[in-house]
């Protein structure tokens, strides 16, 4: 794995929000959300970021996708440094990276039809799909994520939570990206539906050679889906390794505590 160039290379990433004084808005300090985070993500791989609220896992995701500015460190996508990329380069990099959001209700524009939500990507990046093919392409994507293509003219509120999350995935796939960042993408779903979406993500990865950066607070989902995992606590990576290493033989105290706290479905089967 180490011999190929990573798809995504994050080095010493630091994200801090300035604290300003209440009166004159002078910069009086920094609120550090993430500091010194480094990791690689290879083509076809799923890397998990796990941590509790305030651990900085979402900040990392949002920084990589470009919603938040990094204060320091570098993010390289296919060898190109995002922080130093020109606006035009950045736009082409953006095509390669997409995001699936947590809330299936808030992440879809309630005023657009499913077709328009998916086509939004092609409107922003002209030339990917010709305008005349938008409807057929959108329907093909809907079919791909397990939605009835006949519903392309419906609005988000006409779908259930799980179906909406599929729409979100279809939108992310519209630009045929290499990397999809999933920010708590299954956390808001009911267990039975969550399993459907996890299976869909696995299928898509196998078919399209996708890479995932998967953010979750749910260790069992991370364990199920990921190849490698980073454990975050208060903005710092406390441990990283393969799923087997991390779940079978955790080294860091915090990781151990976190794993010990995960509720077990059948505690009576556990050796105590």
């Amino acid at each position: 794995m180490a011999d190929s160039t990573p798809l995504l290379k994050v080095r010493n990433l630091r994200v801090a929000y300035p604290i300003r004084s209440s009166v004159l808005m002078r910069h009086i300090g920094d609120n550090v959300a993430v500091s010194d985070v480094s990791f690689d993500l290879h083509q076809g791989e799923t890397v998990g970021l796990v941590g509790e609220s305030g651990s900085g896992k979402s900040t990392i995701a949002r920084t990589i996708i470009g919603l938040v500015k990094a204060s320091d460190g570098s993010i390289e996508f296919e060898g190109k440094d995002i922080a130093r990329a020109s606006w035009r380069q950045l736009k082409s990099i953006r095509r390669e990276m997409q995001m699936v959001f947590q809330d299936p209700y808030a992440s879809l524009n309630p005023r657009l039809t499913v077709r328009d939500i998916i086509a939004e990507a092609w409107r922003v990046h002209p030339g990917v799909v010709p305008r005349g093919a938008w409807t057929s392409e959108a329907k093909a994507l809907m079919d791909r994520v397990g939605l009835n293509p006949d519903y392309s003219d419906r609005y988000p509120h006409q779908f259930s939570g799980g179906q909406r999350q599929r729409i979100g995935i279809a939108r992310a796939l519209a630009l045929r990206p290499k990397l999809i960042v999933c920010d708590e993408a299954v956390s808001a779903l009911d267990v039975s539906v969550q399993a459907q979406v996890l299976n869909l993500l696995e299928d898509l990865q196998a078919d399209l050679d996708l890479s995932y950066l998967f953010i979750s607070h749910d260790l069992s989902v991370i364990e199920h889906l990921c190849d490698r995992v980073l454990v975050l606590n208060r903005g710092v990576v406390v441990e990283q390794g393969t799923v087997d290493q991390l779940f079978d033989n955790p080294q860091d105290d915090y990781t151990k505590r976190l794993l010990a706290a995960v509720p077990v479905v059948r505690p009576w089967l556990e050796p105590t």
Binding site: I19, S21, S22, V23
Partner: protein
């Protein structure tokens, strides 16, 4: 809390400076010659020149501005051109009357609208709610000056119960107070109602109920204290509407207040007094809102503790 107060004070000072500047810009930068406006078409060139010198209009604009800001800080708005006394003196004579009128109208409005809003909120979509909302919407749609005229027509001209103009006795305050308060009552009632309805759906209201508290205790203090927070802010902003209403009410009832002074001064092109009136009213508005902001901090611990 200290940071919060400091930030609010700073904002108030800034807004005041802005308001004073706007008045300067409006009065000085209009295409017309203020001296000409003031002296009228019939003035001789000599008179005009004298006036310009007295008003400092022969100096560069920036000097005029600094002079003006300095004067404003000391409450010197120049001399009234019709009454031959400092404009500020004219205002000092009538300001207490307007203050009294505004205060009475505020008290009346709060006293009437809180119970009404509460009643409507607690009986959402029932008859009493519909009655209150319809009534307040109608009242809000009535022109303030027209309310004054009708009240005057009925209670002083037809029934002869109350004086129709001036300020000679405490009775003279009744009609202007009602006229001024009515639109305010309408707005406030609607705010109290919607604020309370929103709060009644909050989780902590469910908690209060789950504690087995009586519905009365759930409302006082749990709901009302939270509902008050947004209402207080809106009251501050609507205080401007009240001040605007005072101008009209005072005109209708020939009430010796700052509003009537303003309208009168505009009629006789007494710009020094006009400026003074506008600045004083803006100051009053800013001060009231500063007070409201601080009250907000007092009511909401989350604001108080924020940096």
């Amino acid at each position: 809390m200290l940071g919060f107060v400091a930030r609010r004070l700073l904002l108030a000072v800034f807004v005041l400076w802005g308001a004073v500047t706007v008045v300067f810009v409006v009065v000085r930068l209009v295409p017309a010659d203020p001296a000409l406006l003031m002296a009228g078409e019939t003035a001789t060139p000599e008179q005009l020149a004298a006036l310009r010198a007295e008003m400092g209009l022969d100096q560069p604009l920036i000097a005029q501005y600094l002079q003006y800001v300095g004067n404003t800080l000391t409450g010197d708005f120049g001399r009234s051109y019709t009454q031959f006394v400092p404009a500020m003196d004219l205002i000092a004579q009538v300001l207490p009357n307007t203050a009294l009128l505004a205060l009475l109208a505020c008290l009346l409005a709060v006293g009437v609208s809180f119970p009404l809003g509460l009643l409507a909120a607690l009986r959402v979509n029932r008859f009493s709610d519909r009655a209150v909302t319809t009534l307040s919407l109608t009242t809000q749609s009535l022109p303030g000056f027209w309310i004054g005229i009708v009240l005057m027509l009925v209670f002083s001209r037809q029934l002869g119960w109350l004086p129709s103009a001036g300020l000679d006795s405490p009775q003279s305050l009744i009609l202007p107070t009602i006229t001024l308060a009515l639109p305010f009552i309408a707005i406030l009632t609607r705010m109290v109602r919607s604020g309370l309805i929103e709060v009644m759906g909050e989780g902590y209201i469910t908690t209060a109920r789950s504690k087995g508290l009586s519905e009365r205790t759930v409302i006082f203090p749990h709901a009302i204290r939270n509902a008050l927070i947004p209402v207080v802010t809106l009251v501050g902003l609507e205080f401007g509407t009240l001040l605007g209403g005072a101008v009209i009410t005072e005109t209708v009832f020939s009430f010796p207040g700052i509003g009537r002074l303003l309208v009168f001064s505009i009629g006789v092109r007494d710009y020094a007094t006009v400026q003074a009136c506008v600045v004083v009213i803006a100051v009053a508005f800013v001060l009231v809102n500063l007070f409201v902001d601080l009250l907000y901090g007092f009511l909401d611990p989350r604001v108080r503790n924020s940096r």
